[in-house]
Amino acid sequence: MNIEGILAQLTEMLLALVAAPLLMGWVNMCRAWLQNRRAPPLWQPFFLLHKLFLKEPVIAHNAGPIFRTAPYVVFGCMLLACAIIPTISTNLPLAPAADAIALVGLFGLARLFISLAAMDIGTSFGSLGARREMLVGFLAEPALLMVLFTISLIASSTSLATIVSHLSGSEFTILPSLAFAGVAFTMVSLAENARVPIDNPATHLELTMIHEALILEYSGRHLALIEWAAALKLFAYSCAGLALFFPWGVAAASDHVALLFALPVLLGKLAIGGFLLALIETVSAKMRIFRAPEFLATAFLLGVLALLVHLLLGA
């Protein structure tokens, strides 16, 4: 641990906090353009957060302590997840704290808390959303683990920083297993971030919503924290995908020049990724909830195939 590492770590966390709502705004902008609507400004999510932070939270009479603490836990989990994913530098003091498998655990912890909080309040929507969230979660987690196992096998390490420096350091090779893993990871990210084939982030229609049903009872700063955490989760998943499958441009441990270029490269990659996400959301329709297991089973299958292909071809 040195001063450089701490600086890089702080920069990365600050970047995540600022860039996550911007990414959300960018995706919304692209989607509006693709649907021939006038786009809201890029910083619209900041306006939303600002408004929510100023409002007084209203809490139901029968809300327990879990309901009050859940937003902070979820926000903390997502911020930590963003902190351990190498976005601009692989020299991160926090990276040894959690490896790729613990990252899945972090997401799982956040999911557990938000589901418990939704059930805590006792409304039917809350428990409906919680059950759906758990259904999607328990199907998405093994698929995500399979993807991470494959990449860990390739880099022979489960530490994210080591994986990224291994992948970006070695000379250009085509790895078919990574292609499978990339498709599987995209599918899992869509499901986990409540995006279109599984859930529609813009809907409040009671029959279809998952994520919105969970947070229906939240207001004020609690809601702001949860919205921010959702943006951070999208940011974490995008950055993890970029770091694992397009690791070029991430600065190595003692490379000062690369550090300067890392930020614009990352922003460029995120802009392209956000546009592709909006494109996927525009061209595909939301699935019935009972088709979700099929979708995620396919992701799991691709993860397993990636593992098998890696073992067979050694690539």
Binding site: T173, I174, L175, P176, S177, A179, F180, V183, P293, E294, A297, T298, L301, L302, V304, L305, L308, V309, L311, L312, L313, G314, A315
Partner: protein, 219 residues
């Protein structure tokens, strides 16, 4: 023969496997045909890669034959067939796709294990892909078993031939030209005969469901 060639062939092999799984889970007949054409295209790509890497002239010819036959002619015939049979927008009810996928994974593991000792004898650049070719063949078999309509079964049959062809080019640098021409002709003629056959089935039973063929005589 560089390491890069092997990697490109491996990539095409992975794409073939991916398309085989996509075909297994595809409900729409129209998309099935497009996937079949795409698989043919991946096959052409891998054949061309091997041809340029090894400098074998006849592989170029076979790539050309594959392109004409499997990317243009057969999909065109199939498209016309489903238009004339009026099954273009048909959606087949497949039971339990996740289970079928799991069976498919089992088949892939089986094929990889089976091919592992064989590929040790091969000196070809892409000997690891033999397992993938075998897996493609088995997955096409699975597709033929699980489908009940006639057109998807025919597509399964054609996809199986794709897998065999891929095994031939990647493991042994292709079959002799005579054999290849014979197979190409066989597939084409088979397609024509099966097309006629499908019209007959529909005329007899008013549907393309081959379960009607299980009864030998009318009650």
């Amino acid at each position: 023969m560089s390491a890069m060639t092997g990697q490109i062939v491996n990539l095409f092999a992975a794409i073939l496997l991916l398309i085989a799984f996509a075909m297994l889970s595809q409900r729409r007949i129209l998309s099935l045909i497009n996937l079949f054409a795409l698989q043919g295209l991946a096959l052409v790509g891998s054949t061309l890669t091997v041809a340029f890497a090894t400098g074998q002239k006849h592989l170029l010819y076979s790539a050309a034959i594959t392109f004409v036959l499997k990317v243009i002619v057969l999909p065109y015939i199939l498209h016309r067939l489903i238009r004339r049979l009026n099954v273009k927008w048909d959606i087949e009810t497949l039971i339990n796709i996740p289970t079928m996928m799991l069976v498919g994974i089992g088949l892939v593991v089986f094929a990889f294990n089976l091919a592992l000792p064989i590929s040790h004898f091969s000196s070809s650049v892409a000997r690891g892909t033999l397992g993938i070719a075998l897996a493609c063949v088995l997955l096409s078999f699975l597709m033929m078993i699980t489908r009940s309509k006639a057109v998807p079964q025919v597509i399964g049959f054609l996809a199986m031939e794709n897998g065999l062809f891929f095994a031939a080019t990647s493991a042994t640098y292709g079959m002799p030209m005579v054999v290849e021409l014979g197979i190409a002709l066989d597939v084409l003629v088979g397609m024509v005969i099966l097309g006629v056959f499908m019209f007959q089935i529909r005329e007899q039973f008013d549907s393309l469901d081959i379960h009607h063929l299980e009864k030998l005589k009318e009650d």
